[in-house]
């Protein structure tokens, strides 16, 4: 039944490691997003894909690479993790120009 599901829920890893977060939506939406929410709860867009094509690519380190194998999936791969990458990462989906449906977040802790 879950509309936007992302895994894992929690991710604890050491500096320098490479990790991936997966996201899937079963709403039939054509647009998917990755957001980062910092400790002050501010939501910042990272990437947006529409029909598997990148349409928003905000200023994020190129250690972050999104991959959209199909319209229902948008994964986030992070290379060489740094302490400052610790945050909650949210996947979301929508029809174009419509409100967002968010997943429940992945809390990433880099030690």
């Amino acid at each position: 039944d879950t509309a936007v599901s992302q895994t894992p829920k929690y991710l604890v890893t050491q500096m320098g490691n490479d990790k991936s977060i997966k996201c899937e939506q079963n709403l039939g939406h054509d647009t998917m997003y990755w957001y980062k929410q910092d400790s002050k709860k501010f939501l910042k867009i990272m990437f947006s894909y529409n029909n598997k094509e990148l349409i928003i690519n905000e200023t994020v380190p190129n250690r972050f690479s999104p991959k959209s194998p199909d319209k229902a999936h948008l994964n986030l791969h992070i290379n060489s993790l740094e302490l400052g990458d610790s945050a909650v990462y949210f996947c979301a989906s929508s029809r174009l120009n419509s409100p967002l449906h968010f997943g429940n977040g992945t809390r990433l802790t880099v030690t």
Partner: protein, 112 residues
């Protein structure tokens, strides 16, 4: 750069009181969305306002879009502990490429 200033950042009140949260900008938005986020979950859409001056009600929550579509408010009447959460406003940019401009959020705590 478009900004959406949300206030207050934090509000702790007693059950039964009324409160208002504001989102203000110097930019015009196509629409404005309000979300609520609870701990350990993602934001969930409450309402979208589209027309300048529009007022929408969701039980005890009243949402208003400014006449010039630059600001919005959320008023909660007789707040309940279940209203506790992080309230976020997001304005849809009128620029090309559908882009949401997010407020910094209002953390609301309703004490029983």
């Amino acid at each position: 750069t478009q900004l959406l200033e949300q206030s207050p950042q934090f509000l702790s009140i007693q059950e039964g009181e009324n409160l208002t949260v504001y989102c203000n900008s110097s930019s015009v938005f196509s629409s404005l969305q309000w979300y609520r986020q609870e701990p350990g979950e993602g934001p969930v859409l409450l309402v979208t306002v589209v027309t300048g001056g529009e007022v929408k009600k969701l039980k005890r929550l009243t949402f208003q879009f400014g006449d010039a579509r630059k600001d919005s408010s959320l008023h909660i009447t007789a707040a309940q502990p279940g209203d506790t959460g992080l309230y976020l406003c997001a304005g849809e940019s009128m620029d090309s490429n559908y882009q949401l401009i997010w407020g910094a959020g209002t953390k609301l705590i309703i004490k029983p």
